[in-house]
């Protein structure tokens, strides 16, 4: 949770969750704009597989006195099978007219079309799916320090080995 109390304060949240069988990951971020010219960027991604459940909750509140504030919220979810669940509950509470605010949410299954395309280029189905998942997580992993990014990619590969489809 971030409180933007000083004029011109900025905050950015980038999060990723990976829910496997029997897991319920309930994550989120709140940001309260309390001063003028403040800005926030929220970027959340979640992946669920084998019946895992991901829930993302966010609140962006821009107060009456937070004139000329900017906020951008993006939440994306990827489900790898038919039994996994993903919910996003973004709440946007804008209390003055002089703001720039954008919000986008995308929830979907892994695209058959994309898998077919990659398979036509010589990849196996598993490799194609793993490549799509790595591409989905890439915007987050590229922001992390290199040792954590490598560990994150390794974990994703480990979880995906023979597990999808």
């Amino acid at each position: 949770m971030s409180f933007l109390n000083g004029e011109g304060a900025k905050t950015e949240y980038t999060g990723i969750s990976f829910a496997g069988a029997g897991q319920n990951l309930d994550t989120g971020f709140k940001v309260i704009h309390n001063a003028e010219n403040t800005s926030s960027v929220v970027n959340s991604k979640s992946i669920s597989k084998n019946g895992g459940k991901c829930t993302y909750r966010s609140l962006v509140r821009i107060s009456e006195n937070a004139k000329n504030s900017k906020s951008s919220v993006s939440c994306e979810s990827l489900m790898l099978d038919d039994i996994s669940i993903s919910d996003t509950i973004p709440v946007n509470d804008i209390r003055n007219d002089e703001v720039e605010f954008s919000h986008e949410a995308k929830i979907g299954k892994i695209s058959d079309k994309a898998i077919f395309y990659l398979m036509s280029r010589g990849l196996s189905e598993e490799d194609a799916k793993a490549m799509i998942v790595r591409g989905f997580a890439y915007p987050i992993s590229k922001e992390l320090p290199v040792e954590y990014a490598v560990e994150m990619n390794n974990l994703i590969n480990l979880e995906l080995e023979g597990a999808i489809g």
């Binding site: 109390n5 304060a9 905050t11 999060g15 990976f18 971020f29």
Partner: protein
């Protein structure tokens, strides 16, 4: 044993049928006796001078928040001094000798600073660990603060954590990765 814990309530209620207004966790084993947690690697300058309680609500519920205020077995304070840049990394490694961690972390970034704070929770063995913690941040004028939290605890463990940031004319970036490690 905590019978039921209601967490992460949505600020605006949605249809009851969706069952997503909040989440209830049942029968959580909360450790009564808190042992020591020694397996911590620290890179950078930290102290253990965290002052008692603050009248703040974090969202974890009274029971868990009181546990942090009263029974924390690791307390860290990170102060980034004015006009200086400082990076700190704290790695908490759970194993069979270090099963319970209740951490209370305070970060103060003073004026004109740039810093990256990395906090990592990792369980290396097939154990049932417990973590409950609060991270409280105060960031002052013209500072840039990156906070990276990496959770690599196994699926048997209970993990409760909340982070609260107060910003005064500054820039902060928070990266939160919640992955899980195979047993």
């Amino acid at each position: 044993m905590l019978q039921e814990l209601k967490i992460n309530e949505t600020p605006v209620r949605t249809s009851r049928n969706l069952n997503i207004n909040n989440i209830k966790i049942q029968n959580i084993e909360i450790p009564e006796t808190i042992g020591k947690f020694e397996n911590v690697n620290i890179i950078g300058q930290v102290t253990e001078d965290v002052k008692g309680s603050y009248n703040l609500t974090y969202g974890l519920g009274n029971e868990l928040e009181n546990q942090v205020q009263q029974k924390a077995n690791r307390k860290f304070k990170i102060v980034v001094e004015k006009n200086k840049n400082q990076n700190v990394e704290i790695d908490f490694n759970f194993n069979s000798q270090n099963l319970t961690l209740i951490d209370n972390i305070e970060i103060i970034a003073n004026e004109n600073t740039e810093s990256t704070i990395t906090i990592k929770y990792k369980s290396t063995e097939n154990i049932k660990a417990y973590h409950n913690g609060i991270i409280r941040v105060l960031a002052k004028k013209n500072c840039k603060l990156n906070i990276i939290i990496v959770n690599l605890m196994n699926t048997e463990s209970n993990n409760f954590r909340v982070l609260k940031i107060y910003l005064k004319i500054m820039q902060s970036q928070l990266y939160n990765c919640r992955l899980w490690r195979k047993k």
